[in-house]
């Protein structure tokens, strides 16, 4: 909690700090880290119902494209809302078709969904197809830090939603659904509805993050926006940081995206190797992630 607050505070004041010649690079990297961490927080919300999505890269991409396409007509903020809305709508449709599936079946179906989305965007005319799509900057470039603060805003929204959902009555239903679906139903939980609600909130936030990402990169291509890499980031960060928590994805995002940024500078393509290795090591040795490790430390000290 404290840690989460401190991280967000740092995000707010970062542009005012004396960063010297690294300023532009650091702000850019930080903006990317905030968006990916926001995506990770969003992914975790669905994971709380026990569903493992490989479609969050696609929701991110859908949000990015929908925002990019509607900025000229609507302006920055409404366009972002459209991005979140489109992502939520597509998750509703996908969820109605697949949320009865469990475990690996759901994961495979969501993977199929993201690949179909990429093919559609590649083949469609209005998206610029394989050539790509130029995007207007946030607020038509009127504020140099506009994009940065939009990213901070997305991160704060994702953090707040994550915290609020942990404290809401829905949290009981989500945790029950995750830990025993049949029992949860007999206790009165409409598990399909719970999963659908979590899926839509989760996808909407992913779409918002994608929209800000579009304004940051100023150019979208299907391979970037719908790449599997984004889906990998979305799931490895919470697993590494600590599932079903708010601080976990924030902390995991900070660490992993820093590592990623450094690796991108050093080795360029292939940086995703860090995600693969971290995922394997976490599953084998750190099943509760960093938060589990911290809790164990704290528990040991109290005992």
């Amino acid at each position: 909690m404290m840690l989460a607050g401190a991280l967000l505070l740092l995000a707010l004041v970062l542009p005012g700090l004396p960063l010297g010649s690294w300023r532009a690079f650091l702000l850019d990297a930080a903006q990317f880290a905030f968006l990916v961490s926001g995506l990770a927080l969003a992914w975790d919300l669905l994971a709380r119902t026990g569903q493992l999505s490989l479609a969050h890269g696609a929701f991110f991409g859908l949000g990015a494209y929908a925002t990019a396409l509607s900025i000229p007509a609507l302006g920055t903020i409404p366009a972002l809302l459209v991005g979140g809305g489109i992502a939520a709508l597509s998750s509703l449709l996908l969820g109605l078709a697949t949320l009865r599936l469990q475990g690996m079946y759901f994961a495979i179906a969501t993977l199929a969904f993201s690949e179909v989305m990429r093919t559609l965007v590649l083949k469609a005319q209005f998206t610029g197809g394989s050539i790509g799509l130029p995007v207007q900057p946030a607020f038509a470039g009127a504020y140099p830090l506009g994009g940065y603060y939009l990213a901070v805003a997305v991160l704060i929204i994702c953090t707040l939603v994550s915290l609020l959902m942990s404290r809401s009555r829905l949290n009981y239903a989500m945790a029950a659904t995750r830990q025993g679906e049949a029992v949860a139903r007999v206790l009165g939980v409409s598990v399909v509805r719970v999963k659908l609600v979590a899926f839509m909130i989760s996808a909407c936030l992913a779409g918002l993050a994608g929209g800000v990402y579009a304004m940051k990169t100023l150019f979208l291509s299907p391979y970037d926006a719908f790449g599997l890499g984004r889906a990998v980031e979305a799931l490895v960060i919470p697993i590494f940081g600590g599932l079903y928590t708010t601080t976990g994805p924030l902390l995991g995002g900070l660490i992993i995206v820093s590592l990623e940024t450094w690796l991108r500078l050093r080795i360029g393509e292939g940086y995703l190797v860090v995600y693969g290795v971290i995922l394997v090591l976490t599953i084998l040795f750190l099943p509760k992630g960093l938060m589990g490790l911290l809790a164990r430390r704290r528990g040991a000290r109290h005992a």
């Binding site: 697949t98 599936l101 079946y105 179909v116 083949k123 990998v232 080795i267 995703l272 394997v280 599953i283």
Partner: protein, 285 residues
């Protein structure tokens, strides 16, 4: 008419290699109970083994087949022993995530080692074609098809007619509670996972000639194999061949008859996965 015939032949020829990859995956799912996202990466390694042997020593892919099978059997066995075995008792999702992590890691290690370029093993017979009546097809796809049929026949014979094969099926049919695995069961798992990887590796050698070797060449085949085994019913080895034929024919028809079909082919297997799973989801409800 000739176009249709050509389309059908293309589809059937492609089905062989699909069935080979999918049988390997079905073996891992059916016997060990692991949905292996890294299955296609075993094919990718096979493709690079073939490419490297060809470039460095001029070894023909036909010979690499055997070497790749051995190498991949070992890779599979090591993967099983070091990574899969520790999570056999873990929740299904953890197992899946683990193999997903292996897949991402292997793809990107290959990317670091070899770059993103596609590399083709250009043998003398690579461009050769056989013309029969009004239709024609390449020698490599035809050879791959014949080989696949032979290997699948061998696999079915092994599972159906040998003592060891019988033991494998017995283990598959009554999976014991995790944690209670006897040593024999462990050995069967090791064997099945190694075989699964070897089948993928052999398919990878064929890909290096027919398509290319590249870090991401395998992932598409993981997904196609998923489509096939989901259609066949997860872990059902017998349904794999017909399901592979359905998928390959559907792709061939789309690529021939849909305008700009090249790109849409990529969507076919996802639609198949999607329809099969969704149908399943509503039937379960």
């Amino acid at each position: 008419m000739e176009l249709l015939l050509q389309t059908l032949i293309n589809g059937i020829l492609a089905a062989g290699i699909y069935a080979l990859v999918a049988s390997g995956l079905a073996l891992a799912v059916g016997v060990v109970g692991i949905v292996n996202f890294a299955h296609g990466e075993f094919s990718m390694i096979g493709a690079f083994v073939s490419y490297l042997l060809f470039v460095s020593a001029g070894i023909d892919p036909m010979i690499s087949l055997g070497l790749a099978a051995i190498v991949l059997f070992l890779v599979g066995a090591i993967t099983y022993y070091g990574l899969i075995r520790p999570v056999l008792a873990a929740p299904e999702l953890n197992q899946m995530l683990l193999t997903f992590g292996i897949s991402v890691a292997l793809q990107n290690i290959a990317l670091l080692l070899f770059g993103a370029d596609t590399r083709v093993v250009s043998t003398a017979y690579q461009g050769a074609t056989i013309a029969l009546g009004g239709v024609s097809f390449g020698v490599p796809p035809f050879a791959a098809f014949v080989l696949s049929v032979g290997l699948l026949g061998g696999l079915y014979w092994f599972l159906g007619r040998t003592r060891l094969g019988f033991a494998v099926r017995a283990v598959a049919q009554n999976r014991l509670a995790p944690g209670l695995l006897g040593i024999e069961t462990q050995q069967i798992y090791l064997l099945a996972f190694g075989l699964s990887a070897a089948l993928a590796g052999v398919a990878g050698v064929m890909l290096s000639v027919m398509l290319y070797a590249s870090p991401t060449v395998g992932f598409a085949y993981t997904l196609k194999a998923f489509a096939i085994i989901v259609m066949a019913g997860l872990g059902n080895l017998r349904g794999v061949v017909p399901a592979a034929i359905v998928l390959a024919l559907a792709e061939a028809v789309v690529s021939t008859y849909v305008p700009g079909g090249g790109g849409w082919v990529e969507a076919v297997f996802f639609l198949v996965i999607f329809i099969a799973l969704t149908w399943r989801s509503w039937r379960l409800a």
